[in-house]
């Protein structure tokens, strides 16, 4: 700093300002590696995917950027079945996962006392067996002569002749629910855990009926967790193809299968990209809705 015509006071002000500026830079430095990484490896590929979706051509002749909106149109026509099925399965799986998972989260948050961490761990431990093995295990469990199917036939829920679970939508649904259960339970658990106990007690005082107390107080407070869990389940479920391939039948493919197929087997990049982008747009809409209603602080934990 030059000493020319700077009063001591001015010099001190600059010193204070400098220190302040240095302090302000720190968070950005911390964030830099991660954000750069995410941008390079997540955002950029997605953008190029969008570009790809608007192209025309094939592997031999090369691809040309032609604003090929028809690729997107194709998503809704040719792959209508898959689209609807993905929607159906993922929504169905999400709803069921919510119904099953919420009470689980509630139980762990409020009924386990000192052993809370233990139960959380127990919840997560099964997922240390690789995804594929677990899904294959379901194939065994839901096999035609397995315990589950025979019981269901005996109970009359499944028809005597040709009653099976595998290669039906139900097996796929069951597989999806199982796979995504922790993604639903954890955010709800976190949200429930954070709630002020005194609010719940107050609710118990105000409303004589515990069900009403739940609806009016507990449920709204846990809503951010519910929405978070829903987002973490719904969209990935829509893009899943493993469960279909292992537990369903080839007639009933989902969008995920199409993408995988087009990308790795048929190598029709534009079509695959178009479908992927359609899925991504669905997520974006959902996230925007979420952030608008609840804010972004709770998104990441």
């Amino acid at each position: 700093m030059t000493a020319i015509a700077e009063t001591p006071r001015q010099a001190q002000e600059t010193a204070a300002g400098e220190a302040e500026k240095r302090r302000r830079r720190v968070p950005y430095l911390l964030l830099a590696p991660g954000i750069i990484y995410l941008i390079l490896l997540y955002v950029v590929p997605l953008i190029s995917l969008v570009r790809m979706a608007l192209q025309d051509g094939n592997l031999q002749a090369g691809y040309e950027f032609t604003w090929a909106w028809e690729n997107f149109a194709e998503v809704f026509t040719t792959y209508r079945g898959q689209l609807l099925r993905s929607l159906l399965y993922s929504v169905g799986a999400t709803v069921i996962t919510l119904l099953i998972g919420y009470p689980l989260a509630y139980a762990i948050a409020f009924r386990t006392g000192r052993w809370k961490n233990l139960f959380l761990v127990l919840l997560l431990v099964p997922f240390l067996i690789p995804f594929l093995l677990r899904t294959l295990a379901w194939r065994t469990i839901l096999a035609d002569n397995g315990f589950v199917v025979t019981t269901l036939i005996d109970l009359g829920i499944l028809p005597q002749q040709g009653g099976r679970l595998l290669a039906t939508g139900w097996a796929v649904l069951a597989g999806l629910v199982y796979s995504f259960l922790p993604f639903m339970v954890l955010p709800i658990y976190v949200a429930l855990e954070k709630t002020d106990r005194s609010m719940l007690e107050a609710a118990g005082d105000l409303y004589s009926n515990p069900v009403t107390a739940f609806w009016k107080v507990t449920w709204p407070l846990s809503l951010p967790g519910v929405i978070s869990g829903t987002l973490l389940t719904l969209i990935p479920a829509a893009g899943d193809y493993i469960n279909v391939q292992l537990l369903g039948n080839p007639q009933q493919t989902m969008m995920g299968n199409v993408i995988e197929n087009k990308f790795l087997s048929v190598i029709d990049y534009p079509a695959a990209a178009a479908i992927s982008i359609t899925l991504m747009i669905a997520i974006v809409i959902a996230v925007v809705f979420y952030v608008r209603s609840v804010g972004s602080e709770d998104l990441v934990a």
């Binding site: 001591p8 006071r9 001190q12 002000e13 010193a15 204070a16 400098e18 220190a19």
Partner: protein
């Protein structure tokens, strides 16, 4: 165990035109103050008045937007906390949970590369000062609130700082413990001889412990001085209300002998030095304990007299608190020591009277 040297002539802390601007509001505005060396100084004010921000700027945790901060004459503006010869006792104590009490207290010494032997000796001495010998190997979690507070104090003092900053350190303690600690802190400060700067919103606490109090309001110092001085002569309506009940009346200065003509009729005598210029609008006040109650017509009453009717009387044991409604000044609070059995009943007509030197004038 005296840590400080003889109090120096230079003020321990000086703030010169310090302003702290946050994004949407300004916490401290053009603050200038000077703290004498070796004194117990209190920053008093309601929440949000900027006292904690000021303290943090002295400690180096916040940087002023403009202005200069000096410690013993040396400019420290812009210096990081670890470069300043001050230590802080935080409101939440901020004891390191993963270290033992000994290591907590020794933390600053270790960072200053003090030898092991000296560390042991100094930590031992300061723990004795705060009366916590014998618990060196425990963890903070295992101590009570009061004990943790003393560890925080020890951890700061052991480094022989020239100034000790305390950020509402007694806030989390229960009443009895708080009162004990107030006396303790004062004793330690006098024994150790360094400058203490204590932030609090409790006026009783400030008046008990401090040599000098600065009352802050909305980022500025409204009044600074010794406890008796600012209590008896608050000079602004805010300070008079903050430090106790004040019984304010509006009027105009009449002549230069200290007479004030009340807006609602009647004349009050005050010390002319405590009033603004002749003809100026002024609010005058008197503390409740300075007022005595007399029956109407009693000529023994002091010169300042206001008639009224008793609307409430509460016997507190040591004293009786009265609310007296007057035509000139609305409802006034009067506190009478129960020296004799003369009690005034509800609805009784009385005359409130006090000496002129107890009248103070305020602005604002």
């Amino acid at each position: 165990m005296a840590i400080g040297n003889e109090p120096s002539q230079k003020p321990a802390v000086e703030l010169d035109g310090v302003t702290k601007q946050f994004v949407d509001f300004s916490a401290v505005e053009d603050l200038t103050l000077s703290v004498d060396d070796g004194k117990f100084f209190a920053l008093l004010g309601p929440s949000g008045c900027g006292k904690t921000t000021t303290l943090r700027m002295i400690g180096g945790f916040e940087e002023p937007t403009s202005g200069v901060i000096r410690l013993h004459g040396e400019n420290v503006t812009g210096l990081k906390p670890y470069k300043r010869p001050v230590n802080t006792v935080f409101q939440s104590y901020a004891l390191f949970p993963h270290l033992s009490i000994f290591e907590n207290v020794a933390f600053g010494l270790r960072r200053s590369k003090v030898s092991d032997a000296e560390v042991k000796q100094r930590v031992g001495a300061v723990l004795e000062l705060v009366q916590l010998v014998g618990r060196e190997n425990r963890r903070p979690r295992q101590l009570s609130g009061g004990q943790q507070q003393r560890v925080a104090l020890a951890r700061a003092l052991v480094n022989h700082p020239r100034v000790l900053l305390l950020d509402e350190p007694l806030g989390a303690l229960d009443l009895k413990l708080r009162k004990e600690m107030q006396i303790e802190l004062k004793r330690i400060q006098q024994e150790v001889g360094i400058t203490f700067i204590h932030v609090t919103h409790d006026q009783e606490e400030a008046m008990t412990m401090a040599d000098t109090i600065a009352v802050m309001n909305q980022g500025r110092i409204e009044r600074m001085g010794a406890p008796t001085e600012i209590y008896e002569d608050p000079r602004t309506a805010f300070v008079s209300g903050f430090l106790g009940a004040s019984n304010l009346m509006s009027g105009k200065v009449d002549g230069d002998r200290g007479a004030v003509a009340l807006a609602s009729g009647g004349v009050i005598q005050a010390n002319p030095n405590r009033l603004p210029a002749v003809g100026a609008e002024v609010k005058v006040g008197v503390r409740p304990e300075k007022i005595q109650l007399f029956a109407p017509g009693d000529e023994d009453a002091p010169p300042n007299r206001l008639p009224g009717k008793v609307t409430d009387a509460s016997f507190i044991g040591v004293s009786t608190h009265y609310l007296v409604d007057t035509p000139q000044a609305g409802e006034m609070t009067v506190v009478v020591q129960n020296l004799d059995d003369r009690r005034f009943a509800l609805g009784e007509e009385v005359v409130m009277a006090w000496q002129p030197e107890h009248t103070f004038g305020v602005t604002g």
